[in-house]
Symmetry: C2
Subunit: 199 residues, 2 copies
């Protein structure tokens, strides 16, 4: 495809390199940016540089933060005896959105995946164990995939000797979804994990 | 939603401001960029600034270009007697991809839209008329929407006194699609514009 400008081609390529952005979307985004004023482009460019310069890992939970410990780790209002373990920083955002969880977090930065060569040493597991002295419950909020299951079992075994309760978030039929359209794995898990109806 | 960093929030907002990028995608993109090295972020930032600094309009066809006239307008190999009129620069990319069209382009930068206050003066129409002295055919490659139809009729009337042939690209059933699933408007247009089968 012939572009009338190398500068356009370069930004289309940058956008295409992002996950879930195909070449056509990258073109549309580039043309959108061409129509914006100079200040918009400067702001966008600064936001990128600023992100990389200022954002680092929290030394405690390993979430992204500008100051370490991060606001959640530093907060006195949050229950430090309950630790929610997640695979990725985005998972924290999703859980925070529920406004249900008032404990602290620990980010593993991945799940065990022998095929991709991700072993226990690649995850923040030693750092998790080191945090457990004041902790009463570890909630594993890890995706119910094969790798997630393996990681959940691995962490549960690791924590077992330490006399800390280990739980995992429930799997089942999503709210608003239908039994008819649920896959067998989800449905059998939902049956297994059935709970008493209280009168 | 609480972010652990203002720098993250700012880039999420920049990505969200782009068309077709929702907040969740913007988050995913921002976290993706956090995982890249510094060079990647510098390249991305430069591509943005570079785009705005170097890309301008071609004085002839009004496509985006770094040098005016743009490579297509400057090319001796392209037939300057056939002019393809499009609404937006992206349309040029789509047509160039076919490798079918060997003439030159003219970009209107919009279509007539009274509801949004876009009148003939907002489009590059005077500039189109000024280019027609050597032109034998004007091909209107404008989306077959209501606004597009109005624009096509308007341009056809405008050019009529100038003794230049005016054509429009065909509407009909897309290749690979089925009659069964075509909407009535497309199907009646396809029937109307039927062509003889040559033996």
């Amino acid at each position: 495809m012939q572009y009338s400008s190398e500068a356009i081609e370069r930004l289309v390529e940058m956008f295409s390199s992002l996950p879930s952005i195909g070449r056509k979307t990258a073109q549309r985004l580039t043309y959108y940016i061409l129509r914006q004023d100079t200040q918009y482009v400067i702001d966008f460019s600064k936001a990128l540089i600023n992100l990389k310069e200022n954002v680092k890992f929290c030394d405690t939970c390993f979430n992204y933060t500008e100051i370490s410990p991060c606001p959640i780790c530093a907060s006195e209002k949050r229950d430090k005896t309950v630790l929610c373990v997640v695979a990725e920083p985005n998972d924290v955002l999703a859980i925070e959105k529920t406004n249900e969880f008032k404990g602290k977090y620990h980010i593993l930065h991945g799940v065990l995946n022998p095929l991709e060569g991700i072993s226990a040493d690649d995850l923040k597991l030693k750092e998790l164990i080191a945090r457990l002295s004041d902790v009463k419950e570890v909630i594993l909020a890890i995706n119910p995939s094969i790798e997630g299951e393996v990681t959940i079992q691995y962490i549960a075994k690791l924590i077992k000797p330490l006399d800390v309760k280990v739980s995992r978030i429930a799997s089942g039929i999503p709210i608003g979804s239908a039994i008819e359209y649920s896959d067998e794995a989800t449905l059998s898990r939902a049956l297994e994990a059935r709970i008493n109806v209280v009168f």
